[in-house]
């Protein structure tokens, strides 16, 4: 078997910004002293005059982005998820969300796969925070291909978009000719009849691997990639619940308020079934290599498989 290509979605973000920058003069990229890490540095190299380093001042950066959007630019404001969605939550809510300004927030280093920096920098709350803001689109791509498509789709969408990217290099899983990205449309990656695993971000690949293991044992798990957590693909989720009767959600995020909660919001109104939420169980992360942390917190294929087995 050939080596699987692995790319961090933050890297995809940087490259996608360059592509957008070439086509659209009004694209402006903001960063808060993390251009090297968020990969907006790739854009800076190509378009130094349109890369605005705001210094370590994320709240101000969001306000500047609002002002740029109010005057016709399309700003991509970038920082770690913790400091974008976390620190600048109220600025995003009041200066961007309330006036529904056309600001794109590129949040990298989401979840525990930040790794060694530890809990202060591992944001497991951003999806929950962002999806409560009226009119905010929340996207958590699963790989390089999806991340690039998401950046383009975010540009084409009128209004605020929260894009969630990771630090860890993850396998490319969407490299197929018929791949299409549409905001708000989930993707069935594997058909199944016994249960449906609804996953997002880097957990999609891990869920596919877990499903393959279940398949070996005669458990037919369907796998859905929900790259857009808001607006969520309610029809697809309700259909899956009707078809398979059980739902498992998997996310590198708190089980409170994230994908699992969004899926439950849909199900309890439309198709009440049993749900297992896999994610960070109301705990902070810790320092360590990303892969080890995913293993420790049960967010890798083995952990997902084990939790599903125990639940079934």
């Amino acid at each position: 078997m050939s080596e699987v290509k692995k790319i961090a979605t933050r890297e995809s973000y940087g490259h996608a910004l360059v592509e957008l920058g070439k086509e659209h003069e009004e694209v402006v990229v903001l960063d808060a002293d993390l251009a090297e890490a968020t990969k907006t540095g790739i854009f800076k190299k190509e378009f130094p005059e349109r890369h605005i380093d705001c210094g370590i001042a994320e709240c101000n950066m969001m306000g500047i982005a609002a002002g740029l959007a109010a005057t016709g630019k399309v700003p991509f404001a970038s920082s770690f998820a913790m400091f974008a969605a976390g620190r600048a939550f109220e600025q995003i809510r009041n200066s961007i969300g309330y006036p529904h300004l056309n600001v794109k927030i590129g949040a990298t280093h989401a979840g525990i796969s930040v790794g060694e920096d530890g809990a202060t920098h591992q944001c497991n709350e951003d999806i929950a925070l962002m999806r409560t803001i009226p009119g905010m689109v929340v996207i958590n791509p699963s790989d390089d291909i999806e991340a690039r498509a998401a950046v383009k789709a975010a540009y084409e969408h009128q209004g605020p978009v929260y894009l969630r990217f990771g630090r860890l290099a993850v396998p490319v899983i969407n490299d197929r000719p018929d791949y299409k990205f549409e905001i708000g449309k989930g993707v069935v990656l594997k058909e199944g009849t016994d249960l449906t695993i609804v996953a997002t971000g880097l957990c999609v690949n891990e869920s596919l691997a877990a499903a393959a293991k279940l398949e070996e044992e005669g458990v037919h798990a369907q796998v859905i990639n929900i790259h857009t957590i808001k607006p969520i693909d309610a029809d697809l989720i309700a259909e899956a619940a009707k078809k398979t009767g059980k739902i498992v959600t998997v996310e590198e995020h708190s089980v409170i308020g994230g994908l699992g909660s969004a899926v439950c919001d849909v199900l309890c109104e439309r198709e009440p079934v049993k749900v297992l939420k896999i994610g960070m169980n109301d705990v902070f992360g810790e320092s360590g290599p990303a892969v080890k942390l995913l293993e420790k917190y049960g967010l890798d294929a083995a952990g997902i498989y084990a939790k599903i087995k125990a639940w079934l």
């Binding site: 101000n60 500047i64 609002a66 002002g67 959007a69 109010a70 630019k73 009041n94």
Partner: protein, 279 residues
């Protein structure tokens, strides 16, 4: 426009403030009245705007960072012809477009939604930066409260504006000396305000009498002529200016007059208006 005309308009703006806040039975008259003259100067003299075309691309922008003084902004916008003066009475009423704090999506002439203190200045800085990026000539004005500058974000924005030499930006601080909990010098003193903006690489015009149109004219002229750095105009103002019982009273920061107080206030403003007509 001569000073008497500006004073007459400002007096009408004050009537609109008192009327709208009275009708809303809530709102912020003190800081609206202290800024009534600068609102008038900006919208009738200083800014390149067109009420018939509120979104024209090359207009100057105004961001009311101290968004709670929306009654002052709405009143001047109405006087300038953006919407009917009569609508001021719907302030804060359910279903009205005149929200408690500025709402750019629904109010003609409002360039930025604001109200959470410290945030408007950042948006104004973004607008000024935007003009620089695309070589546009419009200027950006933002009005802050003196209590508001206790917010750290104000200084993040100021550091950035100074660093980027945004000479198309004018930051105005309405230094009326009072905030909700009392005297700003007692609550958490932001003084010296001028030295702080100087330290952030602003050209500072301090101690400008907020109620003297010639002083305002000179200050904004100086700001316009300042190149290579943003300007901060520190206005020395009287909170509640124009309504005797509201002047210099922190208690009138966010309180509506009752019917009796409203009648007294309007009577005072009527008389002030009549006196101006005698001149």
């Amino acid at each position: 426009m001569d000073v008497i005309e500006l004073k007459k308009i400002a007096n009408e703006v004050r009537k609109g403030i008192v009327t709208s806040v009275h009708s809303a039975k809530a709102g912020h008259p003190g800081g609206s009245l202290s800024a009534a003259d600068v609102f008038t100067y900006l919208y009738f003299e200083e800014m390149n705007i067109d009420p018939a075309d509120p979104k024209k691309a090359d207009r100057d922008r105004f961001v009311l960072s101290k968004g709670h003084t929306a009654p002052g902004l709405y009143s001047v916008l109405a006087q300038r012809g953006y919407f009917p003066v009569e609508d001021l009475k719907t302030l804060r009423h359910i279903g009205s477009y005149l929200q408690g704090h500025p709402d750019m999506k629904h109010i003609p002439g409002v360039d930025m939604s604001s109200g959470s203190l410290g945030q408007g200045i950042s948006a104004a800085v973004g607008m000024a930066l935007s003009a620089k990026l695309s070589h546009d000539d419009y200027r950006v004005y933002t009005l802050l409260g003196d209590g508001e500058i206790q917010e750290g974000q104000v200084w993040e924005a100021s550091m950035f504006a100074g660093h980027r030499k945004l000479d198309n930006l004018v930051v105005i601080v309405d230094n009326n000396g009072l905030q909700i909990d009392g005297n700003i010098a007692d609550v958490c003193s932001p003084y010296p305000i001028d030295k702080k903006f100087e330290a952030f690489n602003f050209h500072v015009i301090a101690d400008v009498d907020a109620h003297d149109f010639e002083a305002l004219r000179a200050a904004f002229k100086e700001a316009r002529e300042t190149k290579g750095m943003p300007t901060a105009i520190i206005l020395k103002s009287v909170k509640g200016k124009g309504v005797s019982f509201m002047e210099n009273k922190a208690g009138w920061h966010g309180k509506a007059p009752n019917d009796e107080e409203y009648a007294i206030a309007m009577d005072e403003l009527e008389k002030a208006g009549e006196a101006l007509c005698q001149k």
